[in-house]
């Protein structure tokens, strides 16, 4: 029996073939496969639900517009995430111009919630080159190899960004949050 990843890959190939043959309904199938993952990546990166929804929608529209370039192979996942990533970068530039704050996605008033808010805020303030590897590897649990392919950098370069990003995040949190790690 094929595992879930094999099944996903088979289904993905069928939808991509259908899309490449001009079947716009196939986009719904691609959305079923990737909608949640793209939305989560965008939300983690942008910190804002509405923008994440906008970028996710635009990502799928771009997939449709570029359907003649589609190849039903392992590169599709990397390709669609790169589209989302580039759109997120555009959004972040707009945010910096408009100085829009991120959503407060974690409701509640306890200490854990306060820490999560502080982490979300600190993450959004990191340089993008540090933020991306942290989102991919530490929040979304991507393997280093896949994250490196997605970011078009080498695995050692990714590891280096992860190391510096984690240190930078910790330093930012120290400015705003007295954590309990040394108690």
């Amino acid at each position: 029996m094929p595992d879930d990843a094999d099944k996903d890959s088979l289904v993905e190939k069928r939808w991509l073939d259908a899309l490449a043959q001009g079947d716009p309904g196939a986009l719904a199938g691609i959305y079923e496969l990737y909608g949640e993952r793209i939305f989560r990546f965008c939300y983690r990166t942008l910190g804002n639900r509405q923008d994440a929804e906008d970028v996710a929608a635009e990502t799928f529209l771009r997939v449709l517009r570029k359907s003649n370039e589609l190849r039903a192979d392992a590169a599709f996942r990397t390709w669609i995430f790169r589209i989302a990533r580039n759109l997120c970068i555009d959004k972040i530039r707009q945010h910096r111009l408009l100085e829009l704050p991120p959503d407060l996605q974690y409701a509640g008033g306890d200490e854990k919630t306060a820490l999560r808010l502080a982490v979300q805020q600190a993450l959004s303030e990191l340089p993008f080159e540090y933020q991306e590897p942290l989102v991919l590897c530490d929040l979304e649990d991507y393997a280093a190899k896949e994250a490196a392919e997605f970011l078009q950098i080498t695995v050692p370069a990714l590891k280096s960004r992860l190391y510096r990003g984690r240190k930078a995040l910790k330093a930012k949190l120290n400015e705003t949050w007295n954590h309990q790690s040394h108690e």
Binding site: K7, V11, R14, W15, D17, A18, Q21, D23, P24, G25, L27, A28, G29, Y31, E32, G35, E36, F39, R40, Y43, R44, R49, A52, E53, D54, A56, A57, E58, F60, L61, L64, Q105, Y106, L115, R116, V119, Q120, L134, D138, L139, D141, K159, S160, L162, Y163, R166, K167, L169, K170, L173, H179, S181, H182
Partner: protein, 96 residues
Amino acid sequence: MNESELYKKLIDLYAERSLPPELESEMEVASQNDPNLKAEMEDLRWTVDTLKSMPAPEFTEESYQRILMKVYASGVEMLKRSPDPSHLQLKLPLQG
């Protein structure tokens, strides 16, 4: 790989809890005599643990529908499927 790179790599692996248990114990013993190493190991592990414990943003039904509607509003009828071509006649795991 130079000494500094090896040092960073080991700390990273420690932080990610990816070291074999024996090596992890050896690092912890070594860090007892090196306050800087100890602080860095603890800080990075705390940071990774904290990030990994962050709950995933919820992909709500509202978000699911709003994204569909935004695509639909752009003139793409992704909600209306054309009749399945022969190669799509297998049962596909689509959500209802």
